[in-house]
């Protein structure tokens, strides 16, 4: 008689099962788009084999900002104040530029109260992954329009939004983000590839993810609902991500796909759909976004990518070790230096 051996848990390339990549149980509504994004994040970090403790998760305030508690339980998380995660994340990376920072934000956090910090983070090209879980509505305060709500979009109460939306991808490209993508929480394949590419990118990656709010903005008349996205999602290309450690010969047809090599050697394959799209062309990127908006379509995919621009921590020319860990002898000048300074003021 032979006993059936228990199936060993699946492990990633650093020998970890998925447990350390998970977080506490979500307290968001069942069906919330944010939960799907959390799932993709767990997969992405696990599949890339990133040490959980090497990540710092930061957020502001709002439904989206709660989610850093729901993934990577073995990574430090910081749920700070409304709209200001770009500042805490920047500070975190100044202290320790070896960390892999990820910010999860929402449309209220990013497009309203924190837009000033958002654009300055873009301008600095702070090397982190910035995810906007965009549902066009304030969920925690029960359903007010946000600044990304489309013109003419309807609330459950029947109120109609009279203002034009802020397009965070347009803003991202204009203000200097080096990786700008849009996706949909319901598009598992595309979102997964984009997240992995963003994590592998050296620079600021902004991902605007349409993430329906099932409680306050998933009805007829909403432009951020599951139904609306099903009808209006217009992928720019199909995205494939091949990690640097994958033992795969990348083959592709020049006329049908484009390949971009990322900082860590990972490769991004963008397969042509209706047109050949070059994400390194900034002006063209702005053009396709404006065109899609005019047609009422939601363009998804990697819209803009610049793999050459230096990041903020590179510009600062920081020493190799994290500043936070420098010993006293590296940061307190000598007695002789102070004597020299005293002499200068005599």
């Amino acid at each position: 008689m032979s006993s059936t051996p228990a199936t060993p848990p699946r492990v990633n390339r650093i020998g970890l099962d998925v447990f350390p990549y998970k977080g506490s149980k979500t307290t968001l509504c069942a069906g919330c788009g944010h939960n799907a994004i959390t799932e993709r994040l767990i997969e992405a970090y696990w599949e890339l084999g990133i040490e959980p403790w090497s990540v710092a998760k930061l957020s502001g305030i709002g439904c989206s900002s709660k989610t850093p508690a729901y993934f990577l339980q073995q990574a430090h998380g910081f749920n700070g104040v409304h709209g200001r995660a770009p500042t805490t994340a920047t500070g975190t990376l100044l202290a320790n530029h070896k960390l892999r920072a990820v910010v999860v934000s929402g449309d209220g956090d990013t497009a309203s109260i924190g837009i000033g910090h958002f654009v300055h983070m873009l301008r600095r090209n702070v090397p982190l992954v910035y995810i906007v879980e965009n549902n066009g509505v304030y969920g925690l305060t029960k359903g007010q329009f946000s600044a990304t709500a489309d013109l003419g979009a309807k609330l459950k109460t029947g109120a109609v939004n009279p203002l034009y939306p802020i397009d965070l991808c347009l803003l991202g490209i204009e203000m200097g983000a080096t990786f700008v993508a849009r996706s949909f929480s319901g598009d598992k394949r595309q979102l997964s590839a984009i997240l992995k590419a963003a994590i592998s990118h050296n620079g600021l990656a902004v991902i605007d993810v349409i993430s329906p709010c099932v409680t306050f903005n998933d009805h007829e008349g909403s432009t951020k609902s599951y139904a609306y996205m099903k009808d209006h999602d217009e992928p720019l290309h199909e995205v494939d991500f091949i990690p640097y450690f994958a033992d795969i010969e990348v083959e592709y047809n020049e006329g049908e796909s484009r390949m971009v090599e990322l900082h860590d050697g990972s490769k991004l394959l963008l397969h042509k759909l209706e047109r050949d799209y070059d994400p390194s062309n900034r002006i063209h990127a702005l053009e396709v976004l404006h065109e899609a908006a005019r047609r009422g379509e939601v363009l998804t995919g990697i819209i803009y990518l610049d793999t050459a621009r230096p990041t903020f921590t590179e510009i600062l020319n920081l020493c190799d070790e994290p500043l936070a860990l420098l010993p006293e002898e590296r940061v307190r000048p000598s007695r002789e230096v102070l004597e020299q300074i005293n002499e200068e003021f005599r």
């Binding site: 430090h76 975190t92 960390l99």
Partner: protein, 620 residues
């Protein structure tokens, strides 16, 4: 100082009889009135420094407008053989270079003062009770400065020469001070300016007969000392505290602190070969961001700071509450200016005493250090970083514009003898040994939990930092008992840190029935006022100079020992006294009296003395 409410012009009196024997030596003030942007700063610094080099205690205060060019500005130099370096209320020698302000400047002088003025201003007919000297500055500058464009700047150096001759300042000391000011690299400019000084000396010798009683004579009270601005000393303190991240937003009067820090860090904290820096200084997009970045950096383990002034503090309020509650070390240097609102951006006030102690919503208390001198700006900056990391909390340093932006004599800055205290931080090895930790658990009885830094390579290292209610294990909680346990523990930290604050400085006068309590720059008016009270009114007064909030236990004892305690505040609402009303036992509060000044100028001794004597008279 030139507003009529503060100092009504004295009625013209009969010219005072000046006996040439009544020499007033090393005890008077000089005020130079110029137009902002006319380059008078160099001339004034050379004048001040040459008196200092003659061994005479001196202070220099720049009263400047919130303007780049064109509005009146005054630089006041006080020489005091007794070492009084507070602002002197009366001006003894006026240098009137500004047509805009000259009339009012002359009218507000006390009888017997001297005036050197630019000849075309024709001021001598204004008063008959002053000593007037005139000089044709434009005529004098032309031959020594052939380049017409530079004359506006160089002509100021002529009054330095004239004053040297009239007051007896050693021209050699002026030459030395001038060449130090310009440095090796600007020798040509120094030569040009030295020519102007000599033109002034020559003119005065040939044309001006000494009438006033004011003289500078050599002393030996400044050897080895420095002349330095508080902001520079504070920046040096941060450098020697081992600051690694400074995030800031420009605001008067704190910008020069950040800028000084940039200069020193470039020199001493960057590898000369690779250019790699052991620090990051970032000019943020606003004060919300500057504190946010500093808090993020403190969370991740940097020695992090920001510097600002009142309007910036108002913006930082929310983040300071987060840092307090999430227990993140950060140092905030507040170089206070006059508020509310934009207020008087270039004038001084202790206006944030109360606000900084309780900044942000909900239950908060923050430690504050009160430096009174450049040495303390230096040492307290070092103290602040240790305290912030040891107690995992924001620490304020309350400076003010007077301390930050004016020039002060200072003892040499002392090298820190204590090693840095980085607080309770667990490493991966610690976690391996302990098998885990509870971030907000008071395991040592001082209220301070152990923390880990992001990036610590251990599965048990992570915890979730939040501004919402949490348990000892940093998990979310809305339970009343969890909230109370946590917020009470944080209050215990505030008690624990008392023992680690710099001690107050006390001077008990034998038989004194009154005591005086001050903080920060009120020190200088106090040192002088105590002497005035005792000399002029026979009223001995004890003095306690506070160096930190929370208040030391000595403060209660000080109240117990005296019948009345006068608390000096450089604000309208008696904020320091107000904090005492919050913190001291009720029976002591009956003894509390308040002295307040809030006109925006550095506090002077006479104001303090008069307010105390008026209240003492009512008492009797």
């Amino acid at each position: 100082m030139h507003s009529s409410q503060q100092m009504p012009p004295a009625p013209a009196e009969q010219p005072q009889q000046i006996s040439p024997r009544e020499r007033i030596v090393n005890d008077f003030s000089i005020q130079v009135a110029t137009v902002n942007g006319s380059g008078s700063q160099t001339a004034n610094l050379v004048l001040m420094r040459s008196i200092f080099q003659m061994g005479v205690p001196v202070s220099g205060k720049n009263l400047f407008p919130s303007n780049i060019q064109g509005l009146p500005t005054w630089f006041t130099i006080r020489a005091s053989r007794d070492g009084y370096i507070a602002r002197k209320k009366e001006i003894d020698f006026l240098v009137a270079m500004n047509p805009e302000s000259a009339h009012e400047d002359v009218m507000s002088l006390p009888p017997g003062a001297a005036v050197l003025y630019d000849e075309p201003l024709k001021l001598s007919s204004l008063r008959s009770d002053l000593h007037f000297y005139s000089a044709p500055f434009d005529k004098l500058v032309a031959p020594v400065c052939p380049e017409a464009k530079l004359r506006k700047l160089v002509r100021n150096m002529i009054y330095v020469g004239i004053l040297a001759e009239l007051l007896g300042i050693d021209p050699e000391q002026i030459r030395k001070a001038l060449y130090k000011q310009f440095g090796e690299r600007k020798k040509k400019a120094a030569d040009l300016n030295w020519g102007a000084v000599q033109a002034g000396l020559d003119y005065a010798r040939a044309n001006l007969a000494k009438q006033d009683p004011y003289f500078i004579e050599p002393m030996d009270r400044t050897a080895g000392r420095l002349i330095i601005e508080g902001n520079t000393a504070a920046a040096l303190g941060c450098l020697f505290a081992g600051v690694t991240v400074c995030t800031w937003y420009p605001i008067t009067p704190s910008s020069s602190l950040a800028e000084a820090l940039i200069t020193f860090m470039e020199r001493f904290r960057r590898d000369p070969e690779t250019g790699k820096a052991t620090y990051a200084i970032v000019q943020a997009e606003d004060e919300l961001a500057s504190i946010g970045m500093a808090v993020g950096a403190g969370w991740a383990g940097a020695r992090a700071m920001t510097c600002t002034s009142g309007p910036g503090i108002s913006l930082m309020s929310e983040f300071v509450g987060l840092a307090y509650f999430a227990e993140i070390p950060v140092v905030i240097i507040d170089v206070q200016r006059v508020g509310p609102s934009t207020g008087l951006p270039t004038r001084t006030m202790q206006g944030d005493t109360l606000k900084n102690a309780v900044l942000s919503h909900g239950d908060t208390r923050h430690p504050i250090l009160f430096p009174s001198s450049p040495e303390e700006c230096f040492t307290m900056a070092i103290d602040a970083f240790d305290l912030a990391e040891q107690f995992q909390t924001p620490v304020f340093i309350n400076m003010d514009l007077d301390l930050g932006m004016n020039l002060w004599m200072s003892d040499p800055l002392p090298y820190p003898e204590k090693p840095m205290n980085r607080g309770k931080v667990l490493t991966a090895e610690d976690l391996e040994r302990l098998g885990g930790f509870a971030r907000y658990k008071d395991v040592d009885g001082d209220g301070v939990g152990w923390r880990t830094l992001p990036g610590t390579p251990h599965p048990k290292a992570a915890y979730f930092t939040r501004g919402t209610g949490h348990t000892e294990n940093a998990t979310y909680s809305e339970k009343p008992e969890d909230w109370i346990r946590n917020i009470d523990r944080i209050a215990r930290k505030f008690q624990s840190l008392r023992a680690h604050l710099p001690p107050p400085v006390q001077s008990l006068a034998p038989g004194a029935r009154i005591g005086i309590v001050s903080a920060g720059t009120s020190r200088y008016a106090m040192e002088e006022s105590r002497d005035q009270l005792s000399r002029e009114a026979g009223l001995p007064a004890s003095w306690m100079r506070l160096t930190a909030y929370p208040f030391p236990p000595e403060l209660e004892a000080f109240f117990e020992q005296h019948e009345r305690v006068y608390v000096i505040d450089q604000n309208r609402d008696a904020q320091l006294a107000g904090l005492m009303r919050l913190d001291l036992p009720a029976h002591l509060l009956e003894k509390l009296r308040s002295v307040r000044y809030y006109g925006g100028l550095p506090l002077d001794a006479r104001t303090v003395t008069e307010q105390i004597l008026a209240q003492e008279a009512q008492q009797a």
